[in-house]
């Protein structure tokens, strides 16, 4: 156990080993670890951001859904209103048409009645003359009694 050149040799070996570690071992390990740390931190930040944006999107979604629902309800009520309007209008149109048809039918009936009356009048005068002829058992001069007959027919 004596101090000798071994000490210097070991010190040199020590220096070389330290140099090697400083140069070739520490930097790549440090780089890898720091890079991974940064990636993890970035990932966590991105996840947080994603979470936030998800929340915002969900909020927006709910808002949009509400709006749409409201709009839909509005449209439905409008449609209902419009439908009832259409029905009312249709009813009115139908009623008017019916009234018109009834009125025209009435006037036609009146016309028919008048015409029948005229016809009947003519026939009745003829019948009356024939009846009178039979009663008188002789021919009545039509020309002589024409005025009287016409007056009779008009009275009928």
């Amino acid at each position: 156990m004596n101090i000798n050149f071994t000490m210097i040799a070991q010190a040199i070996a020590f220096a070389i080993l330290i140099w090697f570690t400083v140069k070739f071992i520490w930097p790549p390990l440090l780089n890898a670890i720091e890079k991974r740390q940064k990636e993890i931190a970035d990932g966590l930040a991105a996840a947080q951001e994603g979470k936030l944006s998800l929340e915002v999107a969900a909020k927006k979604n709910a808002e949009t859904l509400n709006e749409v629902k409201q709009k839909g309800a509005e449209i439905v009520s409008q449609a209902e209103k419009r439908a009832s309007e259409i029905v009312e209008q249709a009813k009115k149109v139908a009623k008017d048409e019916g009234d018109r048809i009834i009125a025209s039918a009435k006037s036609e009936i009146d016309q028919e009645i008048n015409r029948a009356k005229e016809e009947l009048r003519g026939q009745i005068s003829t019948l009356a003359i024939q009846g009178a002829e039979k009663i008188l058992d002789k021919e009545i001069d039509k020309t002589v009694h024409a005025d009287m007959l016409t007056k009779l027919a008009k009275d009928l």
Partner: protein, 271 residues
């Protein structure tokens, strides 16, 4: 040598605690120009092995999902980074944290050599033709002193680099007692003691622990050679000491690393 020494207890211990020496005659004469081949070769092999394994992982480190191996290396990385970050508040990534990683892993690996059963390994080294081979580099005071010396030079380097040569000299003469000329010698003496005691305590703490651990293994091995009861007690106590030694090995590597970081961060801060 092994034939004569293995027969006596002191020979046994001496055999296991002596280093494989290589005399560097080309550098000059004298006892200093000797290299403990076992300490140096084991330290270099362990350093290349452990840091090489980490380098293989670090080279292909991906920022994505890490493999299990990478996760393990990152576990060590995170532990060191955390410890250094608690003590040193400058830019630790440029030097101090990687230096702490090197110290921790390397010292841990060198300490862990103590787990190898000494006599079995001695047989193995003998088969390789190595009759004196101390496998635990940190139980050689030269290794721990070499490491502490490296940290010591770094301490001075960072002290001068951060405070400037003037600031560093000012600190040596004007701290801790004040800037008055009359206390300059006291200040200088104080700092001198500090600068001497730091590497001494740094290295001798690690060396003492590992050396003592090895000696206790050797003593238990000696006891086991005395007979049946020796084998039983030697085995049980040897196992107990080995388990306790796991704690010491990791703890001493941790303490050595922490002291390195503390000394270097103290060099960055003014008194």
């Amino acid at each position: 040598m092994e034939n004569s020494s293995e027969l006596t207890p002191s020979g046994y211990i001496g055999h296991h605690l002596s280093n494989n020496e290589l005399h560097l005659d080309f550098l000059g004469e004298g006892p200093f120009m000797t290299l403990h081949l076992d300490s140096f070769v084991m330290a270099v092999i362990l350093g290349i092995f452990s840091m090489g394994l980490i380098w293989l992982v670090a080279r292909k480190a991906s920022a994505g999902i890490p493999t299990k191996t990478q996760a393990f290396v990152e576990l060590i990385f995170g532990f060191i980074d955390n410890q250094v970050g608690n003590i040193f508040h400058g830019n630790r990534h440029s030097f101090i944290a990687p230096a702490a990683l090197t110290v921790f892993i390397w010292v841990l690996m060198m300490n862990a050599m103590d787990f190898l059963p000494i006599d079995v390994m001695a047989k193995f080294y003998g088969m390789l033709g190595l009759y004196e081979w101390k496998a635990v580099p940190t139980s050689d005071v030269n290794t721990t002193f070499g490491l502490a010396l490296g940290v010591w030079f770094l301490m001075i380097y960072f002290g001068i680099k951060v405070k400037g040569m003037g600031g560093w000299l000012h600190e040596i003469f004007c701290a801790p007692f004040g800037a008055s000329v009359w206390v300059w010698p006291a200040n200088f003496l104080f700092n001198l003691i500090e600068y001497v005691s730091k590497p001494l305590s740094h290295s001798l703490r690690l060396f003492g622990n590992m050396y003592a651990g090895e000696v206790i293994f050797l003593l238990l091995g000696l006891w086991a050679a005395t007979g049946v009861s020796g084998i039983i007690f030697g085995s049980i106590l040897g196992a107990g000491w080995a388990i306790f030694h796991i704690l010491i090995v990791v703890l001493q590597a941790y303490i050595f690393m922490m002291l390195t970081v503390v000394y270097l961060s103290m060099a960055h801060e003014g008194h």
